[in-house]
């Protein structure tokens, strides 16, 4: 029982981070039907932003977090503007390949920048470490609490915006039909840019939170993390916001339990679940079967 609770805490802690990152995949897919392969690299950019900003005297967890959200968000908007938007009305494959290109670029450019380079770097300790006894030998620490609380706040905020605000309505309208949305007076390009901004900001936050727990960062950290978050998004039903949360949590929990069972199994567990779910529900757990449009 103690063991179970302990693993569950680990799983949720990892799961909320997957959920944060999965959100960007699902939102961008929802709005322009693009699998943004460069999304994982924004996680890395967030982590590196935090790494540098944390050196500024007086910058604690919150300012570091804000910076680590804004920098990838701005970069993401620039990428959308320069690389994706010109191809928006072209065959979808062109944009997909461009996204892969952008990803390779983002992974390799920083390696050439002397202050970043290809090596692992120790991530600063932004949160004072303390442990609290929960139940029997099960413990929870300040980093886990920070991870879970920060993720839940950001995810709740995002869901609230999408559900209840005028901007959120505009996002959902654009995701359904861009022309019809434009006929409502919605600036479709702005809404798409905003979607990239928000998705990347969450990815940046995910990068910081992940690095608090696994405090070694490098330029390729986004590849594996991004892939797992993408799997989480597909698992939950890509395009579905609650699906990304569910998929992320499920991925995190399954991965932790599988690793505890057999450390080799941990890596593959998420994918096994994915295959099983897709066999029975191709649209993912919370995805809607696509509505064919005329």
């Amino acid at each position: 029982m103690e063991h179970f609770i302990q693993l569950l805490i680990f799983g949720v802690q990892l799961g909320v981070i997957y959920a944060l990152i999965a959100m960007g995949y699902t939102m961008v897919y929802g709005i322009i039907r693009l699998i943004n392969f460069a999304h994982g690299d924004l996680v890395m950019i967030g982590a590196f932003t935090a790494y540098f900003v944390a050196r500024i005297p007086g910058f604690g967890f919150i300012p570091v977090m804000v910076a680590a959200m804004i920098v990838p968000a701005v970069i993401s908007v620039v990428i959308e503007r320069l690389a994706y938007r010109p191809l928006r009305n072209r065959p979808r494959l062109s944009v997909l390949i461009t996204a892969i290109g952008v990803s390779i670029f983002l992974e390799n450019l920083p390696r050439m920048i002397p202050v970043i380079g290809p090596n692992y770097r120790p991530f600063p300790q932004l949160i004072a470490f303390r442990e609290f006894r929960l139940y029997g030998s099960a413990v929870v620490n300040t980093i886990q609490i920070t991870n879970i609380a920060a993720s839940l706040i950001l995810l709740t905020l995002l869901i609230g915006i999408v559900r209840f605000t005028k901007t959120g309505r505009a996002m959902r309208a654009v995701s359904f039909n861009k022309e019809a949305a434009a006929l409502m007076g919605i600036d479709v390009n702005r809404v798409i840019a905003l979607t990239f901004f928000v998705g990347a900001a969450l990815a940046g936050a995910g990068g910081v939170l992940y690095s608090l727990t696994y405090p070694m960062i490098d330029v390729l950290m986004g590849v594996w993390l991004g892939t797992k978050a993408f799997v989480a998004a597909v698992l939950g039903g890509i395009g579905s916001i609650p699906g990304a949360v569910l998929g992320g949590l499920l991925m995190g929990i399954v991965e932790v339990f599988a690793t505890a069972f057999n450390s080799e199994l941990g890596y593959g567990a998420g994918f096994i679940i994915l295959i099983l779910v897709l066999l029975f529900r191709p649209e993912g757990l919370m995805g809607r079967p696509t509505i064919e449009k005329v």
């Binding site: 005028k166 309505r169 505009a170 959902r172 309208a173 995701s175 359904f176 039909n177 022309e179 019809a180 949305a181 434009a182 006929l183 409502m184 007076g185 919605i186 600036d187 479709v188 509505i291 005329v294």
Partner: protein
């Protein structure tokens, strides 16, 4: 004139859909464009809204040139367009669809009043306000997109085949709404294949054929013409 279109040309690649069309809409007027499938009616409306590739001519609206403006800017200038094929946002509730119709407005009180007006006009929408609009019937969706357009408080309403796929009773209802919209002061440019209905409520009409204006005039005069009765009214 509120809207003055001169020698408009629209093409899709090498296909010339509209080949030099001129027409106008004045304040307080219902003007209809009628013509067979493929005549270019939808292309004209899409050009007005900035959605089609304009190859020539000019579109003057309230003294401003619309050519080159982006769709959302045109909406902000006061033109509301109900596109062909009733594009309701099926992933949003009825209420949210109506609110999106008022997307460009800031006057909260006016929006509330207009919501009431639309719900009064289409009581069925009020009953289904919280329902996802994907669950509505075709006729209800058509009411929704017309109601949504009314929420924009526009100065010119463009309607593309609002009667398509509706039962005769619903057609009556929708056309009745169009007349009352115009009476309240909003001019309407109505595109229809249902020429008889369109001419019965419009002040003036233009008959299109393969991208050109074949005939124009007062609706009553058009409805009385032999060739129109034969070709478009099925007599």
């Amino acid at each position: 004139m509120l809207l003055e279109v001169r020698d408009l040309k629209v093409a899709y690649g090498a296909i010339e859909a509209v080949r030099g069309v001129s027409f106008s809409v004045d304040r307080q007027e219902i003007v209809t464009l009628i013509g067979a499938n493929g005549a270019g009616k939808t292309s004209i409306l899409r050009a007005l809204s900035g959605l089609a590739d304009i190859r020539g001519g000019s579109i003057e609206y309230a003294g401003q040139e619309l050519r080159g403006a982006r769709p959302h800017e045109i909406v902000r200038m006061g033109i509301s367009h109900v596109p062909e094929g009733r594009l309701a946002f099926l992933n949003l509730s009825v209420h949210e669809n109506l609110l999106l119709g008022a997307y460009i407005r800031k006057d909260k009180k006016g929006i509330e009043e207009d919501l009431d007006k639309v719900y009064g006009l289409f009581p069925r929408l009020r009953e289904r306000a919280r329902q996802i609009s994907g669950t509505l019937s075709g006729g209800e969706q058509q009411m929704l997109v017309v109601g949504r357009a009314l929420m924009s408080n526009c100065r010119l309403l463009l309607l593309d085949e609002p009667s398509m796929g509706l039962s005769p009773i619903l057609v009556q209802e929708v056309f009745g709404t169009i007349v009352s919209v115009c009476r309240m002061g909003t001019p309407v440019l109505l595109v229809e294949q249902n020429a008889g209905m369109a001419l019965s409520i419009a002040d003036r009409g233009y008959v299109l054929e393969t991208g050109r204006v074949l005939l124009e005039g007062e609706s009553s005069a058009l409805a009385g013409m032999e060739e129109i009765r034969a070709a478009y009214l099925g007599e």
